[in-house]
């Protein structure tokens, strides 16, 4: 096994433990936003899509690269925006609501 591969396997194994540990205490109410947030994070595939699209020259690689960039960008942008939309509703719970109630 090459040194680089060995390093990568190390990151992989450590990331498994971190991934499990970091969300182990999430309350039920945050399951949906958390799922949506992790969904946005795997949009990191956009980095990979850009790497392969950058060197595209043949029709096949151009087509693959274009579709991959579109799909990955949709994943990132849509993922973060929809998560934010869910979470903005949790804001300002402590202070009384800013909009005065109509009597």
């Amino acid at each position: 096994m090459s040194n680089e591969l060995l390093n990568e396997v190390t990151f992989f194994v450590l990331a498994i433990f971190v991934g499990i540990e970091v969300i182990s205490k999430v309350p039920t109410i945050l399951h949906t936003p958390l799922m949506s947030g992790t969904n946005a994070i795997h949009g990191i595939i956009l980095v990979g899509a850009i790497v392969i699209a950058a060197g595209a020259s043949s029709p096949v690689t151009i087509a693959l690269g274009l579709v991959a960039v579109i799909l990955a960008t949709t994943n990132v942008v849509g993922g973060f925006v929809v998560t934010d939309r869910m979470l903005e509703m949790f804001k300002g719970r402590q202070q009384p609501s800013k909009t005065p109630q109509v009597k």
């Binding site: 990568e8 947030g37 949790f90």
Partner: protein
């Protein structure tokens, strides 16, 4: 990789981890999303200067990013709150598709005989990414009601799926051992797409959130595998974080429904009891119903009212109306609490998000464990568009598909007001004995209209 990009990826990975940590607590959740987004921006910005672009490359990246950003933003902004689960499915599916395509492109670059260390993760990514893509699209179609939400089954289904999986494994071995000609990835991708469809078809709409969460974890793993192919640290770490946390989240979700993951995935939930439900009941058993005025009086002179909101409330967009009812009751010194079942709505947490949107005070939302002992002290429990989460069959009939699911003890309240559009069974497709309970009063109609009528009636009482 230069030192600079390695450091940038390290910082991005730390931001992802901190983001996930913050997302796990209500106070910091929104910042957590920003933290993760900052990590993503950093990883992207750091990558671009390292690349050698062809002219076509620059163009397709620019065009692709513009199209993806527009589709993503518009999709995420326009979607109604009730449709968020299927939107998450869609965004997850496209991520899986992207991972598979990147792996295909990378394999092509290595020619017909790539080394094992490149070929293995690429093939893994193609298979898992394609399953995730196709499965997510079916999940989307089921939740969006483009196709039936009930499980689609046929004889020997598990055998067929098993054979499909075996064919994929065989193909993988062939691709790895013999030669990676383009034809073989194509066949592999098509087989995996078919498996993705076949895997989700027999699963009922009520279980889709768990499936989406599982496919989300799958996409994470496919991204990590692509990271191995590209030797990209950011992809490996971020993908694995999602794969691991997504798997745990999937388990937590199926636990909240009181079922094992195997049962969710292979139980063809909602199919078995269709026959049974038709036999039991339906012979015109009588239920009590009452006018808005009667119910208004009942509510106005109660001391404690517990509201059980369900998906029907979300569909009718009645969250503001329910808050209004709570406010008029509170003016009369009636204590109002909301009992939130872990899987109320169509996803865990869905109902909290909807009620928060209507400015319902956070403190009034009680989780199941907190409130289950309080039902016996409640004068009225008001069930708005919920059904399966209060169905006593989960406690009493071992044959029922929801048997064993923890439920809200709504049946212990002194009076039960069941607001429903009709006598139709809930999402799980089974009858609810609670409707026939002598303490139960049915109040038929659209949730929003009915609540508005109750508000008037309470004011008049």
């Amino acid at each position: 990789m230069t030192t600079l990009i390695t450091i940038a990826y390290l910082v991005a990975a730390v931001l992802f981890i901190l983001g996930l940590k913050q997302l796990s607590s209500p106070k910091s959740a929104r910042n957590g999303n920003f933290t993760a987004a900052a990590g993503m921006a950093l990883a992207l910005v750091a990558t671009i200067p390292q690349l050698h672009f062809t002219t076509a490359g620059i163009r397709i990246i620019a065009v692709g990013i513009v199209i993806g950003s527009v589709v993503g933003t518009v999709g995420a902004r326009m979607v109604k709150m009730t449709a968020i689960p299927q939107m998450v499915a869609l965004f997850n599916g496209v991520g899986g598709g992207a991972a598979a395509l990147v792996a295909v492109a990378e394999l092509l670059r290595f020619g017909e005989h790539p080394g094992f260390a490149v070929a293995f993760p690429s093939v893994f990514s193609i298979v898992i990414g394609s399953v995730s893509f196709a499965g997510s699209m079916i999940a989307f179609a089921k939740l969006q009601e483009l196709m039936t939400g009930t499980p689609i089954t046929y004889p020997r289904q598990q055998l067929v799926n098993g054979l499909l999986a075996a064919a994929i494994v065989g193909f993988v071995i062939a691709v790895l051992a013999i030669a990676s000609v383009p034809f073989s990835f194509l066949s592999l991708a098509i087989l995996a797409l078919v498996l993705g469809v076949a895997f989700v078809l027999p699963i009922g709409g009520a279980d889709m959130p768990v499936v989406i969460s599982l496919l989300n974890a799958f996409t994470g793993l496919a991204v990590a595998a692509t990271g191995f192919t590209l030797n990209n640290f950011a992809l490996i770490v971020a993908g694995t974080l999602v794969g691991a946390s997504g798997s745990l989240l999937t388990k937590m979700m199926s636990d909240a429904m009181g079922r094992s993951l195997t049962n969710v995935l292979f139980g063809a939930f909602g199919q078995v009891q269709a026959g049974a439900a038709a036999v039991a009941g339906k012979e015109g058993r009588s239920v009590r119903s009452a006018s808005a005025e009667d119910l208004g009086t009942l509510l106005a002179y109660s001391r404690r009212v517990i509201i059980v909101p369900g998906y029907g409330l979300a569909v009718a967009q009645a969250q503001h109306a329910v808050r209004e009812l709570a406010e008029v009751l509170e003016k009369r010194d009636v204590e109002v609490l909301y009992a939130i079942h872990p899987v109320a709505g169509r996803m865990p947490g869905h109902m909290n998000v909807l009620l928060a949107e209507a400015n319902v005070p956070y403190e009034q939302l009680k989780e199941m464990d907190e409130i289950n002992d309080e039902f016996k002290n409640a004068d009225v429990v008001l069930i708005v568009g919920a059904n399966d989460v209060v169905n006593p069959a989960a406690r009493s009939s071992p044959g029922s598909p929801i048997y064993g699911m923890p439920i809200l003890n709504a049946d212990q309240a002194k009076n039960i007001v069941f607001m429903k559009r009709s006598m139709r069974p809930g999402f799980a497709g089974i009858d609810n004995e609670l409707m026939f309970d002598p303490k139960t009063i049915m109040f038929f109609g659209d949730a929003k209209d009915s609540l508005t009528k109750l508000v008037q009636a309470v004011k008049a009482a």
